[in-house]
């Protein structure tokens, strides 16, 4: 998509477009600047009993609020299920 806005051509990082994420394999859109905690809130992720991986990083619970996201990031949220 081409844009005529000169601001955007000067600084492509400063876009108003939402970013696209993969949350447990499904595409989601979040506002630019959203952090991991925002993404997890859209899934109503409980605060205990889950583990979160962003691309190849396992992100401890304490870091969710400050963990920045980028367009195209894959977020995996895992929990215990019956098995074994």
């Amino acid at each position: 998509m081409k844009t005529e806005d000169p601001m955007k051509t000067e600084d492509p990082m400063k876009t108003e477009d939402p970013m696209k994420l993969w949350l447990n394999g499904a595409e989601h859109e979040l506002p630019d600047g959203a952090v991991l905690a925002d993404a997890l809130a859209t899934l109503h992720v409980p605060t205990s009993g889950v583990a979160v991986a962003v691309d190849d990083d396992i992100v401890p619970r304490a870091d969710w609020a400050g963990y920045p996201l980028r367009d195209g990031t894959r977020v995996e949220v895992l929990t215990a299920v019956q098995g074994g």
């Binding site: 899934l43 992720v45 409980p46 583990a51 949220v77 929990t79 215990a80 299920v81 019956q82 098995g83």
Partner: protein
């Protein structure tokens, strides 16, 4: 058996029956089976959060006071298993892991090369590792040397219910092990669990034989009794096998 606890990595368990939670038709059936089994430690798998399903099995285990033992089921390489173990540690706040590294989907047999590699990495990372292993005494020794807290040889492949296909290998593993030996996989019915204990295993881990039984609660109860009976028989010391009969009544003046 309060006077004869199972001790793994310094932790004490009153029950020598470790259960899995897979295969139960629903949580209500699972709950009745877990209670009937008397287990204090039970495995769970790690999967994507289903926001509709929530964390039901964990809530159930917490309510029953049963420790959750995460597994690495489905992992095919050491790298996958290490990552899954680390995710499990984060999710369940436990460093205990039932380590499974499977070679192929048809047999679900452990891949010994990847298993040992994963065990070494995870022990170095501070995990308490309970590896699901082949009934191979050499591999069992190597896993123990790598620092595993127990070894968990199969009786036969997962979910087959074929029982203990190589009792002599199990005896060799028991004889050589300095850590607890847990018979893991292949149990079909109560006599298989009793045999595992009679052969000297310290505990039995089973899932399918209970969760897919016609009456899971009753089979769980049977397994509890079988493990206790087998343990008592092992400690009591069985008689030697003899070729010819030996009368058990006095052979004097009939």
């Amino acid at each position: 058996m309060a006077d004869d606890p199972l001790v793994i990595a310094g932790r004490t368990f009153g029950s020598r029956l470790i259960t899995g939670t897979g295969g139960a038709p629903n949580l209500a059936v699972l709950e009745r089976a877990l209670v009937a089994s008397g287990t204090e430690l039970t495995t769970v798998a790690l999967r994507r959060l289903d926001t509709s399903g929530g964390t039901g099995v964990l809530d159930l285990l917490r309510r029953l006071g049963i420790e959750a033992l995460p597994n690495t089921a489905g992992c095919r390489t050491a790298a996958e298993a290490v990552r899954t173990a680390r995710l499990a540690r984060e999710a369940l706040e436990t460093s205990w892991v039932k380590l499974e590294v499977i070679a192929d989907e048809r047999t679900l047999l452990p891949d010994p090369i990847e298993l040992l590699d994963a065990a070494e990495q995870l022990v170095d990372d501070g995990f308490t590792i309970l590896p699901y292993t082949n009934d191979d005494p050499v591999l069992a020794t190597k896993l123990e040397q790598a620092g595993c807290a127990a070894v968990m040889p199969l009786g036969s492949p997962i979910g087959t219910g074929l029982g203990i296909r190589n009792p002599h290998n199990l005896e060799l593993i028991v004889a050589g092990a300095g850590v607890p030996v847990v018979l893991d996989a292949g149990i079909g019915t109560a006599s298989d669990a009793a045999l595992a204990m009679e052969l000297g295993c310290d505990a039995v881990l089973l899932a399918t034989s209970v969760t897919r039984a016609h009456d899971p609660e009753r089979m769980a109860h049977a397994m509890r009794l079988a493990v206790e009976a087998g343990r008592h028989a092992r400690l009591a010391g069985r008689i030697p096998r003899r070729y010819w009969a030996r009368a058990s009544s006095p052979d004097i003046d009939v």
